[in-house]
Chain length 174, copies 2
DNA sequence: TTGGAATGTCAACAAGGCTGACATAAAATG
DNA sequence: CATTTTATGTCAGCCTTGTTGACATTCCAA
C-alpha cells in the first residue's frame, strides 16, 4: 500500500531509476498539474454547452460520433466507458434535438448507426474549435519538443485497454 | 466561430507558426489523449473510493487539505472552484466520519482551519500512493525529457488565474 | 425452432454539481 | 457604538450524469 514517503537520500540503489528519481513532491506536482490543466481543457466547451443545456457527456458523444460516423452505440460504450443506459439518455436528447441521427443497422438490425446531422456538425465544430484553440495555444507556448513529451506521458498514463480501443478508433477513422 | 477546418496546404504564411504547424487532426489527437489519460489518471483512486462510498470530490478535498494543513474553507473553495454548498456537503461527511478536523480559527474565529485526522491521513496516503504509482510509471516509461514537456504543456493549458493560484499553493507548501 | 446472446430502450435512484435564501458570528468601517 | 462586510454553515430544490433492474427486439447456434 505504501512505497511512498520516500525522500531524497532513500533511493533503492543505482539502477536505471537513478536517472529519473522522482520525489513524492515532484509526483504530487504532476498530479496537481493534471488536475488544473484538465479544468482548463474543459472550461471553454463547458461554457458553450451550459448555454444550450447540454453537458460534457453530450460533448463526448458528439466528438466521437464526428470522429467515427456511422459508429454503433456499443462501439461508443467501449470508448466512453459508461453504462449503456447513461449513454442512451444523452443520445436520446441529441436525437430528439435533431443533432444526431440514429439509423437501424443494415447488416445487423439490432445495431444503430449514429451520424451527426448538419446541425450536429455545426455544434460539434463550435465545441471542437474552442477546445482546439486552447490546445493550439498551449502547444505553441510550450514548443514542439514539449508536445512530443506531453503525448508520450499521456499515452503511458492511459490504461492499456482504453488505449487499444482508442487506437482502433483512430485507425478505423483514417 | 471557425478558424478550424484547415488542412495541410492551407497555411497562412511563413511566420513562426510554420515551425509548429498543427493540423486539426493532430490537435484532435491531443484532445483525445488528454481525455483518455485523465480517465487513467483517476481510475485507481476511483476504485478505492467507491469501496468507501466516497467520490472524487472527497479525494480532492483530502488532497488539498493534506497539501496545506490548516487551510480554510474559503481557500479550498478558490482552489477547487466549486460552490461552498457543494464543498460543505463533502466536508461535513469527512468530518462526521472522523477523517477531517475542523477547528475554529484562532486569529479569526469565523474561519475554520481544516486538518486531516490520523485516519484521514491514512486514506489520503492510500489514494495518493495509488495515483503516484500510476504517475511514476508513466514518467518512467516516457523518460525525463518527456516529463519536462508534459509539465510545460499542462501549465500552458491551465487558465492564468488558475495557474497563479496553483503556483501560490505550491510555493506556500514548500 | 427454440433458447441464449447481443443490442438497445425505459424507469428509477444516487452522487455531486448548481442556485437561492437565510442565520450566525466576527471583523472592519464609519 | 452602529452598521456593513466577510466567512461560514444550513436548508431546500434543481440538473446532469453516473448507476442497476426490467424489458423488447434481433440474431445466431444448437
Amino acid at each position: 500500500m505504501s512505497d511512498g514517503r520516500n525522500g531524497p537520500g532513500f533511493g533503492t540503489g543505482f539502477g536505471s531509476e537513478s536517472l529519473l528519481f522522482l520525489t513524492d513532491e515532484q509526483l504530487r506536482q504532476g498530479i496537481e498539474a493534471m488536475f488544473f490543466a484538465y479544468r482548463g481543457f474543459t472550461a471553454d466547451p463547458d461554457r458553450i454547452l451550459s448555454e444550450l443545456a447540454y453537458g460534457r457527456a453530450h460533448h463526448r458523444a458528439l466528438h466521437f460520433i464526428a470522429r467515427a460516423p456511422g459508429t454503433t452505440v456499443n462501439n461508443l460504450l467501449g470508448i466512453l466507458g459508461v453504462s449503456k443506459q447513461s449513454l442512451n439518455r444523452v443520445l436520446r436528447a441529441l436525437v430528439e434535438d435533431g443533432l444526431v441521427e440514429s439509423r437501424v443497422g443494415t447488416l445487423d438490425k439490432r445495431e444503430r448507426n449514429l451520424t451527426l446531422t448538419p446541425r450536429g456538425e455545426e455544434l460539434e465544430a463550435r465545441l471542437s474549435d474552442a477546445q482546439r484553440a486552447r490546445m493550439r495555444g498551449a502547444y505553441k507556448e510550450a514548443g514542439p519538443d514539449a508536445v512530443q513529451g506531453f503525448k508520450k506521458v499521456l499515452e503511458a498514463m492511459m490504461d492499456q485497454d482504453m488505449y487499444r480501443a482508442y487506437k482502433k478508433l483512430r485507425d478505423s477513422a483514417s
